[in-house]
């Protein structure tokens, strides 16, 4: 009998489940990468992992530290240059799902990974845009993976690095974006999804043992709770064992 799942493990397992039907997923390092590798092992062995370093169809046996680890290139179906990755594969909309992280998420799923504080005199200088703006514009859908705290879930971003649903309905169409944008934000407390009308994120699922008020307390805006609030199915023994085995490698 293994120990109960931690909130972080539940977050990873829930993210992996979103890839059951997907053909391809774009991933950065960290929890998104772990979730996608887990999905290939337990749900969807055909899943094509795409890393922005240019490796398409990588089959890592271990969790890579960087998006350019040698194992990704060695096990890939093919490897492309950075311009080809962004123009032919991401920009052209050939990747179905993208997993993105961020330091701040606002009610419309817009993301900040540039600065905390003022741009000219930042309190914290974050890494910057990387591939996120074009990934979020063009991939079929975006799933945001972030820790659920008031520091992360804010009413107003300090800097809009990546457009999710912009200012609400119609923003993405006006900007010429082809993907559907954020379809879910998966946290260590639950799942937020955009309301089909307003495009604002609402709480649609809580993880086992989490009450909606606890999620609302950790959200920096008046978080609406869905009338059909679900409780996340706990990780199965198969999911949890596979995840722990993967992390121990």
């Amino acid at each position: 009998m293994s120990a109960a799942a931690t909130p972080g493990e539940i977050q990873t397992v829930v993210a992996a489940r979103r890839l059951r039907e997907a053909r391809s997923v774009f991933i950065g390092v960290g929890r998104p990468s772990t979730a996608a590798i887990l999905a290939r092992r337990v749900h969807n062995p055909q899943l094509v992992l795409v890393y922005e370093s240019g490796t398409v169809g990588a089959k890592p046996a271990r969790i890579p530290l960087s998006i350019g680890d040698g194992e990704l290139a060695r096990t890939a179906d093919f490897v492309v240059s950075v311009p080809e990755m962004f123009n032919y594969w991401i920009g052209a909309g050939r990747i179905e799902v993208a997993f993105l992280g961020a330091a701040q998420v606002d009610p419309y799923g817009n993301l900040n990974s540039t600065v905390i504080g003022d741009y000219e005199h930042p309190r914290v200088r974050l890494p910057g845009a990387g591939g996120a703006p074009e990934i979020a514009a063009a991939c079929g859908q975006v799933i945001v993976i972030a820790p659920h705290t008031r520091r992360t879930f804010v009413e107003r971003l300090d800097f809009c690095t990546t457009v999710g649903h912009g200012g609400g309905p119609g923003t993405r169409a006006r900007l010429g974006f082809r993907g559907a944008g954020p379809t879910a934000v998966i946290t260590d407390l639950g799942v937020l999804e955009p309301d089909p009308g307003s495009r604002r994120l609402i709480l649609t699922a809580v993880h086992p043992g989490v009450v909606p008020d606890a999620v609302r307390r950790e959200t920096g805006w008046e978080l609406e709770v869905s009338a059909d609030l679900r409780v996340t199915e706990p990780p199965s023994a198969t999911e949890l064992d596979a995840l722990r085995e993967l992390i121990s490698r």
Binding site: V29, L65, R74, V79, A137
Partner: protein
């Protein structure tokens, strides 16, 4: 035909104070040894250009060699912050650092435009973000369909420096594994230096490899292990422990300076 030189000669010949310099490499084949030689030769006032300024640029920024940084993602991949990069931007230490930031797609296309001798690149991107107001990117309509597009100016560095697996005696270079944006950076630059793991009598054709002819390269220097702690696919392994250790070394100004003195500046160049 490229000249075969030592690393010391190549840097002395091709890089001047004040130059814009792109030491490219997208997590793989990062030209660490060449960057360290720039520091030993005390190059100053550089405009450093790179999509992913990681540990090497953290070191160069922390040593005060850069006046400006043009980039699209400044992090230690999988580890966290670049502390010297942050210290320079947040607190101006050891000197203020001007920045110009883009997205990966913008910068990759700007290099490709530079390589094609075009003045700018067109892409879908930047629109709707706060980056538009902070960088050199302009919205332009497609002349045929009217679609909203963005133009970014071409990148043409004074010098590009890349690391590859091998070169022959005429300076023809072959690299494989993750190709990054090195070919574009080299072709976009005015002067070009390539360091290689080994000089071979003849390049053996490899499927999927990138070959760059010696007649578009100025200097080639043999520097075995020249990408460490990054790696050269098939020859060396990425030293992930060092990337993790860098977080602790670089957090503190004094510890950083001492580490650089001992491991980079004090090292007598044997090549």
């Amino acid at each position: 035909m490229a000249e075969l030189v030592t690393l010391v000669e190549g840097v002395r010949e091709l890089v001047a104070d004040g130059d814009s310099v792109a030491l490219e490499g997208f997590t793989h084949l990062i030209p660490f040894a060449a960057g360290h030689e720039l520091l030993r030769q005390r190059r100053r006032e550089l405009e450093l250009i790179r999509m992913t300024p990681d540990v090497l640029y953290d070191q160069m920024i922390g040593m005060g060699a850069a006046r400006k940084l043009t980039f699209s993602y400044g992090g230690n991949p999988g580890v966290g912050s670049l502390h010297r990069f942050r210290d320079a931007i947040e607190r101006g230490w050891p000197r203020p650092l001007e920045i110009e930031e883009h997205t990966h797609a913008g910068m990759a296309n700007a290099y490709a435009a530079g390589a094609a001798a075009m003045p700018c690149a067109l892409l879908r991107g930047y629109l709707g973000t706060d980056l538009m107001a902070r960088t050199r990117a302009r919205e332009v309509p497609c002349p045929f369909t009217g679609e909203r597009l963005v133009a970014v100016p071409a990148l043409n560095p004074d010098v590009a420096i890349v690391h590859a697996q091998e070169a022959d005696r005429a300076g023809n270079v072959q690299l494989w594994g993750i190709p990054g944006v090195q070919k574009e950076a080299l072709l976009a630059a005015t002067r070009r230096l390539v360091t290689v793991e080994r000089i071979v009598e003849e390049l053996e054709p490899r499927a999927g490899a990138v070959v760059i002819p010696g007649w578009v390269i100025d200097c080639v220097a043999e520097v075995p292990g020249g990408s460490s702690p990054s790696y050269s696919h098939g020859i060396t392994e990425r030293d992930n422990d060092f990337y993790r250790a860098w977080d602790r070394i670089s957090r503190d100004r004094a510890r950083f300076a001492a580490w650089m003195e001992e491991n980079v500046l004090g090292e007598v160049p044997a090549r």
